[in-house]
């Protein structure tokens, strides 16, 4: 599992670095690289939605001094509302296909200055586990919701790629079934099996998120995130505690971690259109 996550991590970092177009990669860091001291026509057409710079300059002298200031300037000019994106997680589906539990989930994310990204994640968690050793069966199917916000920490806010950290508050209210084989009293004798059907539970948790997304084509992006999850509370029950909380995962320890691999689509509802030169 760790190798899989590591592979995804490396693949995505390479994607992030490799999928950028020359104009996309015009970040503040990259422009400090030595440039050929030749006169050329420099067209910076993806820096700004509003301001297009087209000039004939000496690249080394003017370009390297101008761009960082321009980024800051254009960042201030960047409209607050930068549109919505919807995304769907495929890793949860893969988990459900190859293990006892998984999720079907999607998200709606708002972009504010392409820096602050409030997000609502809705999903449906499923678990149907029969432990091989103890023969205890656990089953739950229930929806969940997560609310939170991401911070895109890439310096160039005009590109379509994002790398972010964020936080989520998760909530799910559900009913689970747990049943098991007969318990035999070794001293007094007697045998009975148990069946806790429809046990109600409400759970809350917090998540710390780190992830990125890269533009693949047009309005389609792909990205991943890894999440550290802290279980806050669950309803108390004498008989059992939930083994799997929809949207959180298994509760075998106080905290857990998981990931997502997202297919992301930009929605252009009300988003300011780029001016063309």
């Amino acid at each position: 599992m760790r190798h899989l996550i590591l592979s995804i991590l490396l693949l995505s970092v390479s994607l992030l670095l490799g999928a950028q177009t020359p104009a996309d990669s015009l970040s503040a860091d990259s422009v400090h690289a030595p440039l050929p001291a030749v006169k050329d026509t420099l067209i910076v057409d993806s820096l700004s939605a509003d301001t297009i710079v087209s000039d004939t300059v000496t690249a080394e002298s003017k370009y390297s001094k101008w761009v960082p200031d321009a980024l800051e300037l254009e960042k201030k000019k960047l409209p607050l509302f930068q549109g919505f994106t919807v995304s769907f997680d495929v890793l949860g589906l893969a988990f459900y296909t190859f293990s006892d539990y998984g999720t079907f989930e999607g998200a709606l994310r708002l972009s504010l200055k392409n820096t602050w990204l409030p997000i609502v994640e809705l999903g449906y968690g499923l678990c149907d586990r029969n432990d091989y050793n103890t023969k205890i069966h656990y089953k739950v199917n229930a929806p969940f919701i997560r609310l939170g916000c991401d911070w895109n920490f890439l310096r160039n806010k005009f590109q379509d790629n994002r790398m972010f950290v964020g936080a989520r508050w998760g909530f799910s209210t559900f009913k689970y079934d747990m049943s098991g084989p007969a318990q035999t009293d070794p001293v007094y004798g007697g045998t009975e099996s148990f069946d806790f059907s429809g046990t109600s539970c409400t759970s809350h948790w917090l998540e710390i998120v780190f992830g990125c997304q890269v533009k693949i084509v047009a309005n389609f992006h792909m990205g991943w995130s890894i999440r550290l999850k802290y279980h806050l509370s669950s309803s108390k029950n004498d008989n059992s505690k939930p083994y799997y909380i929809p949207g959180y995962g298994t509760t075998v320890s106080g905290n857990t971690w998981s990931g997502s691999y997202n297919l992301i689509f930009d929605l252009n509802w009300g988003k300011p259109k780029k001016k063309k030169q």
Partner: protein
């Protein structure tokens, strides 16, 4: 790039902290734990030997044949039937020892019945001829921590009654009987038995 490296490092540490195994309890024996006191309420050993027994009903196979002693077995024997014995299934009450001649005991741990509402314990002493009887009223319930850890039978104590040959009084210290090892019952013995 520096931000990325810093965040990657922090994230790696967080993930490392998050990795852990199933937290199954180390001690999974569910017992009712007793602590012994003298009549003045001071923790004190019982200056005597203590044996605790219970009487329980078992199902037994009884084989009878004219001119032979009865044979009682826990499991069925076809060999005896072939030898001409008659077989009957009967319910018998037998004594089972849960604590055997413990000397100067300050505490003890006794398992509880899974499905009975009252456990009847008999305390036998070395110096006192007649035993004490302890009736323990409780409700049992199944507890599952995680499916990997299996199921356990926990109990809630509701009442304790005793005879008073050596026992002065008994109280419930903690009604929750589980595998955490809390003291559940305090037994106060008469001090004149020292």
């Amino acid at each position: 790039m520096k931000q990325f490296l810093l965040l990657s490092s922090v994230l790696t540490m967080l993930v490392a902290v998050a990795c852990s195994t199933a937290s199954c309890p180390m001690d999974t024996v569910v017992t009712c734990n007793y602590s012994f006191y003298n009549a003045d309420g001071e923790q004190s050993p019982l200056y005597d030997t203590l044996t605790v027994t219970i009487r329980k009903d078992i199902q037994a196979y009884v084989y009878r044949k004219t001119g032979k002693n009865d044979t009682i077995l826990r499991q069925r024997s076809t060999a005896l039937i072939d030898s001409g014995y008659t077989e009957s299934v009967e319910s018998l009450s037998i004594d089972t020892i849960l604590l055997n001649r413990k000397v100067n005991a300050t505490s003890m741990s006794i398992p509880m019945s899974y499905y009975r509402s009252v456990d009847t314990l008999v305390f036998h002493y070395g110096k006192i001829l007649l035993p004490d009887t302890v009736w323990l009223f409780h409700t049992g319930y199944t507890h599952v921590e995680t499916p990997e850890c299996g199921s356990y039978r926990f109990h809630n104590l509701s009442e304790i009654r005793t005879t008073d040959r050596c026992i002065d009084r008994a109280t419930i210290a903690d009604p929750s009987v589980n595998y955490q090892g809390n003291i559940n019952l305090n037994i106060y013995f008469n001090t004149n038995n020292e």
